[in-house]
Point group: C2
Chain length 243, copies 2
């Protein structure tokens, strides 16, 4: 027995590649985007009343994991990549049915270019196929007594500094686009996109990059010394290259 | 473009028919059941570490709604059935892709009969196909600031009385099965399973019934008068017929 589903919508996201996407929704509020309904589902009636929800659930396909064979055990990045857990005890995109689940903030309905839901706080790749949209129902979905030992709190954030050139590029971009590019850069990079196995040692000469909006963002890792002599890691964004 | 998925598990639930199932999970804590992994996914390794989660998400197929054609607008029972909303603004089982989402309490892993996850608080029909199981991650999934105007709080509960015969049947059953049948009956029926259009008027002669565990449960609605003269509705369970 199998079930076949057709996407009802597609994601329009600032995240143009997997690397650098926050590992959970809600961590990057400045990530604004849209869910664009696809025909024959692109009827404003389908969304009538969604304005009464502050947040919505998205059930989507991990479309860039479709060709990866699932395994019973995975190594979640949160655990440093050196401890394995059962696939159903994780949110790994590589799973028997690669269906994702993500809650995002509802920002409004936009009819200027098809039928779209404006959202923020997303953790989804541009072009992600959406299978279903549901309202977040707080008294059911928000379980304040719930616990999860392995993901008890938000990951630690790193300070993010922008070079003077990047700062002014952000200003120019935000004036013409109404997107707060600086906030987006800081919120994305402070999550520290490096894979766990690269975190043991800092290579100050290594350049990192990710595609975000219309830019290739370039950054490095460096250490600063505080008055007390302690070293602390930070990120410096040194280039924004237009694609 | 379509996506085809195979169930990874199936639900073992006390709810043997759609009528009477609570409209959301968590409302009936006494609803105990199992998620039984199907081959080739029935490997204990797949669940390793799930014990660290107090709750789990189930993504499932509304398999009894597969033959019903979706419509852009639906009439949610919560709104009395006389107000319509867009399908994506509701949790209706009749939707373009009939994929459900439900959070349940994790009660343990049971290897006595295949590989099963013991759960409670479920709102799922027996035999429901499960597409995915994920841990509930409180800091991501529990949004304490979220709001939903149309489903702001739990539905009002009705008092449930059991006849003396039903009381003693419950006692006998609970002694042999370790299932608290009385609690289950009360928690299920206090949700008031009647469709909204039948709620306007009470018919004290009308018998209602639902299949629960191995029983056909029979009940009626009645009114009692308080000392102050106010009438209030209650439910009386008058028969438990073994199936």
């Amino acid at each position: 027995m199998t079930y076949t589903f057709e996407p009802i919508a597609v994601v329009e996201s600032p995240y143009k590649e997997k690397f650098g996407i926050p590992r959970q929704p809600g961590l990057v509020e400045a990530a604004l985007g849209y869910i664009k309904l696809l025909p024959p589902y692109d009827i404003p009636d389908c969304l009538d009343g969604l304005q009464t929800s502050s947040h919505i659930w998205l059930q989507f396909v991990f479309h860039q994991s479709l060709d990866t064979q699932w395994r019973p055990k995975v190594r979640p990045p949160r655990l440093g990549g050196n401890k394995s857990m059962g696939v159903f005890a994780t949110r790994s995109p590589v799973r028997p049915n690669p269906i994702g689940l993500s809650v995002v903030k509802f920002e409004g309905i936009d009819l200027s270019n098809g039928v779209r839901i404006a959202i923020s706080g997303m953790d989804l790749l541009d072009g992600t196929p959406i299978l279903d949209i549901k309202p977040y129902v707080p008294y059911v979905d928000s379980i304040v007594t719930a616990s999860n030992e392995f993901a008890a709190q938000e990951p630690r954030l790193l300070p993010v500094l922008l070079s003077a050139a990047v700062e002014s590029q952000c200003e120019v971009y935000s004036q013409s686009s109404a997107i707060d590019l600086k906030a987006l850069l800081v919120q994305v990079l402070q999550q520290d996109p490096r894979p766990a196995y690269q975190r043991a040692k800092i290579d100050p000469k290594r350049d990192y990059g990710m595609k975000l909006l219309d830019f290739d963002v370039k950054w490095r890792y460096a250490e600063q010394q505080s008055d007390s002599g302690a070293h602390s890691l930070y990120i410096e964004v040194f280039a924004l290259i237009e694609l």
